[in-house]
Symmetry: C2
Subunit: 199 residues, 2 copies
């Protein structure tokens, strides 16, 4: 119904995750009304990103070079690996300043419903890193939801016989949270993971 | 926190209407994982649209030429104008096949909250068309919501002294709708707009 290039843009926008036909239309008309220079900034940002950014050859985090800034940082502890699902999780962990090792980004989590099994993830690549990099600990830092837990359990079983430390991040009440409003699963996990405190 | 080009893209995406920081991140990583050719299709669609599409010089609908396909269509009735808010409304009216006149796209509706008054809309341009195009009827086809009604009332008052027919689209129950589930405003409008039926 729209002039060709407008419909083409609506179609392309509609392919993006979380963008339905209505939002695609809304975004397209927004771009149409925008000064040309501003609209082209979006196009350039896509091109720039695709030309300059790829996945790190070692850990599959986003990277501007062959290997990412964390993998090439000589100050990081190379023997501890934090396994996460997505690059955004690397950012989340980095923000804590609690981790000085390296990462391994699986590029997803096991999800039978979506047809994602270990072969669709960077699991083989994780196994291949363990010996040459002399990894002593693997921290399973996948999301505490069904897919993330399944992935962590799968990896825990896979890594168990290899004689290295395998840990899972704690589940429990969020800091600043309220017992009264915690769901029973989280509170159950918090109890299960209780720790001795000094007198 | 992300490699420069990724963050730049997230920023640009976050400027789009209805795209929050989380969706911007999700879309950026989606584009990162996509084959280069597919991701660049989006960039090209934006460029194409900005280079080939503009607003019709006469009615402000989207147009690939100086004037849009409807304004240049010799079979349309040039004396009846359907005034709508946005190009998408032109598409909606065209789909009914009930209208054979031309359009005038206001590019929005009066909204004091958003600081949009008649000066921000194509109202002056509407007035300027009436005499040279010998318009005999103006159909006020803005949305039946607060902004659209305010815009219609404003235009009705403005056009009243000019000696042409000014009409407003009917409000009422949607076809296939159910009296029981209609909101009282709509049902009130349906009663108010009741029409005599033949015996």
């Amino acid at each position: 119904m729209y002039a060709g290039p407008v419909q083409d843009l609506i179609d392309e926008l509609g392919r993006l995750p979380g963008v339905g036909p209505k939002s695609a239309q809304r975004i397209a008309f927004h771009l149409l009304k925008l000064p040309k220079e501003e609209a082209l900034r979006l196009a350039r940002a896509v091109v720039e990103m695709k030309e300059r950014v790829a996945l790190c050859a070692r850990c599959f985090n986003v990277s501007e070079g062959d290997e990412c800034g964390i993998c090439t940082d000589a100050r990081r502890d190379t023997r501890v690996l934090c396994v996460v699902e997505e690059p955004r999780d690397v950012v989340a962990v980095e923000k804590t300043h609690e981790f000085r090792g390296r990462y391994h980004v699986l590029q997803g989590a096991i999800s039978p419903i979506e047809g994602i099994g270990p072969d669709q993830l960077k699991v083989r690549e994780l196994l291949a890193r363990l010996e040459p990099e002399q990894i002593s600990e693997v921290i399973l830092c996948t999301n505490p939801n069904i897919e993330g837990e399944a992935t962590a359990m799968y990896l825990a079983r896979l890594l168990a016989p290899l004689g290295l430390r395998v840990t899972r991040i704690a589940s429990g009440l969020p800091v600043g949270g309220d017992l009264e409003y915690a769901d029973e699963l989280t509170l159950g996990r918090a109890l299960e993971g209780r720790r001795e405190v000094g007198a």
